[in-house]
């Protein structure tokens, strides 16, 4: 039997800061060698969950194992096997690129003979070779991020935790960055990455959607789309604003988002023929529009699951 190997598990993981519940009863199961995403708005508990998994924070309740090791008891021996890239650039800005890498290689006690080779290898992979002598504080956002990833992967960790790694990076650099991540995953590294970019989340093998500390959905992007309890209709109207106002009056429509000249309308699964309903509404108001039912994207999924949770609560 080809059993899938599990890198990270969590059950009932909870973190309370006083009366604030930052992470609420999160269960996780992350497969080895995959890229797993945490998608959620700011303050949804992504960073806190990552910090608990790294052993930086002690959970208020629940437990987690990383590579089979308990994050409460074995966090110290775990540190040699995981890499962590903080949300904020946390290398020494007053040291050069080369000095930072050398420092990290010594902290991880990479054997002396391999140290220089490994540093040069990383400089090459992350195209920082011409920046060796530059102070890292003067690097651009993309370069800083590449340096941080280089440092996080220097000791060849089995699991890589990336906390919003691309928040200060332009689109081209983001693309390159993800290429590097896929390469690492291919070599067997498990990667857990948090983000609030939908396009990044869509690249993950599977992901969890977090909202106010709770996991509201998980699975691969495809699975999430199929499981969604809503229809999505895309409308290309001549006058999107009037169309929007007209559709707002319809109670069965749960959300309307405008994307340029297009409107994205979400209707609950209970509606049998969403396309007909929208067409009828628009015709009533004598508005010309092209409508089409589409496969939900991650943003739709995100809106649907968070909305559902709020409704369940109230």
């Amino acid at each position: 039997m080809n059993q899938k190997q599990i890198a990270i598990t969590a059950s009932g993981l909870t973190m309370k800061f006083g009366s604030l519940v930052a992470v609420d009863n999160v269960d996780l199961e992350i497969e080895k060698g995959t890229i797993y995403g945490f998608l959620g708005p700011n303050g949804s508990g992504k960073s806190t969950t990552i910090r608990m998994l790294c052993g930086l924070l002690t959970p208020s309740a629940g437990s987690a194992t990383v590579m089979g090791m308990d994050t409460r008891k074995e966090s110290e021996s775990l540190k040699q096997r995981i890499g962590y890239m903080t949300q904020r650039f946390s290398l020494y800005e007053d040291l050069s690129v080369g000095e930072n890498l050398k420092f990290i290689s010594e902290i991880y006690a990479v054997p002396r003979r391999q140290r220089r080779k490994r540093v040069e290898e990383l400089l090459d992979v992350f195209s920082l070779s011409d920046r060796v002598k530059q102070r890292s504080g003067t690097l651009s956002g993309g370069q800083k991020q590449r340096l941080a990833l280089a440092c996080a992967t220097l000791h060849k960790p089995e699991i890589l935790f990336l906390d919003e790694p691309t928040s200060a990076v332009d689109p081209q650099n983001r693309r390159d960055f993800w290429e590097a991540l896929f390469e690492l995953a291919e070599q067997g590294t498990t990667i857990l990455v948090s983000t609030h970019y939908m396009d990044e989340a869509a690249r993950c093998h599977s992901l969890a959607i977090l909202d106010e500390g709770a996991k509201v959905a998980d699975g691969s992007p495809r699975e999430l789309g199929e499981s969604i309890t809503a229809h999505v209709v895309e409308i290309e109207a001549e006058d999107p604003n009037s169309a929007r106002l007209c559709l707002l009056k319809e109670d069965s429509i749960s959300s309307i988002t405008q994307l340029g000249i297009k409107l994205r309308v979400m209707l609950p699964k209970s509606v049998d023929d969403p396309l007909a309903l929208v067409d009828a509404k628009l015709e009533q108001a004598e508005l010309k529009a092209k409508t089409e039912q589409v496969f939900p994207d991650l943003e739709d999924i995100f809106v649907a699951v968070t909305q559902k949770r709020r409704e369940d609560e109230s």
């Binding site: 002690t58 040699q80 946390s90 020494y92 007053d94």
Partner: protein, 366 residues
């Protein structure tokens, strides 16, 4: 082996950062230099050149001689001569003079009769040091040349000035300054060095590596021990050059005492860094500790003159013990073996603070 690599890595990084941080680099040399010159010249308990004024209602040969004698003592600089005691008092009220000399009209008769004091000194007694000076002035001898000498009474007590025959304050101040400067720089530097990493986010990365707490702390402390020793050498050299402070004891003993004292202050700095979360807080805490150290350690005022409560508090400050050690060795040529209890006090302080620091510093964020 891996531990050693990590400690060395932290040390090397610390030196690199220090060499690039011009402000810190400047402070290493600047603080001792400026404080030594400032305190060395400014703190002077051997008071001279106080402003004074006098009224001479007698205006005789003898009264003029008295004023000349007082002026010659250099204790008072006679700013002006006024017409009445009332004017003298006004000058005193306005703070223009510290001591006023009032010679009454029957001065000569009083000197001969010796029944009543012949001269009155009006003193701004708010400052006890000035009062002390006035009391010395009051002992000034004066009589007519023709007057029969008083029966030669030997004074009850005689003062023999050991260790500082020229009565120079710098001799006492400079060794004391070693401790003051080291307290300030050592506590502050270590505290800030770690809190800075917290503030800049470096620590979040570091605690996620296999580095162990003692490795990190040792790597952070060692570079500053070296800096402390550089400062020590600087102060001793400058003290000898500018103020001619002799080193009567063994230099090796000074070094030994300083090492223990530096280590004690560094551990305190580490403890501060585990409590403070910003560099500003670290600075405030350092000064909270630094001020009493200066005031009640015996650096400023004689230790035995303080109330018992203050003395007890002072015993808990490393500077108190270091001052005794270093003044003993430098000024009295004492052997360090004769003051082992002072050394022990420093060691106890270090062990307690270092233990607390290591216990408090967690490789976790909560």
């Amino acid at each position: 082996m891996n531990s050693l690599i990590r400690v060395l890595a932290v040390m090397r990084k610390e030196f690199l950062q220090m060499s690039r941080d011009r402000l810190t680099f400047g402070m290493i040399v600047g603080i001792p230099l400026i404080q030594l010159l400032l305190f060395g010249y400014a703190i002077n308990t051997d008071v001279r050149n106080l402003s004074g004024a006098y009224v001479d209602e007698a205006d005789t040969h003898l009264s003029r001689q008295l004023v000349a004698d007082i002026t010659a003592s250099q204790v008072l600089v006679m700013k002006q001569r006024v017409a009445s005691v009332t004017e003298l008092q006004q000058l005193l009220d306005r703070g223009e003079i510290s001591i006023g000399v009032a010679v009454p009209i029957d001065f000569d008769r009083r000197v001969i009769a010796r029944e009543r004091p012949a001269v009155q000194l009006l003193v701004d007694g708010a400052d006890p040091i000035i009062l002390g000076v006035a009391q010395q002035l009051a002992a000034l001898p004066l009589r007519f040349d023709s007057q029969e000498a008083q029966p030669d009474r030997a004074p009850l007590m005689e003062v023999r000035n050991f260790y500082n025959p020229e009565r120079r304050s710098a001799v006492n101040i400079v060794p004391g300054l070693i401790g003051v400067i080291l307290t300030m720089t050592m506590v502050l530097f270590t505290a800030v060095a770690i809190v800075r990493e917290k503030e800049r986010g470096n620590l979040e990365l570091l605690i996620n590596t296999p580095i162990k707490t003692p490795e990190l702390m040792l790597g952070k402390i060692f570079p500053y021990i070296l800096i402390g020793l550089i400062q020590l050498a600087l102060i001793l050299t400058l003290g000898w050059y500018f103020f001619e402070v002799p080193i009567r004891g063994s230099l090796l003993h000074v070094l030994a005492a300083a090492m223990v004292f530096i280590a004690a202050n560094l551990s305190l700095g580490l403890l501060v860094s585990t409590v403070a979360s910003t560099q500003f807080q670290a600075m405030q805490m350092t000064f909270f500790f630094f001020l009493p150290s200066i005031l009640i350690s015996g650096f400023m005022f004689p230790f035995d003159g303080m109330p018992i409560v203050a003395q007890n508090i002072a015993e808990a400050l490393p500077l108190t013990h270091f001052n005794r050690l270093v003044r003993g060795i430098i000024l009295r040529g004492a052997e360090i073996q004769t003051m082992l209890d002072e050394l022990l006090a420093l060691v106890i302080f270090m062990v307690v603070t270092l233990t607390l620091a290591i216990l408090r510093f967690k490789k976790r964020l909560d």
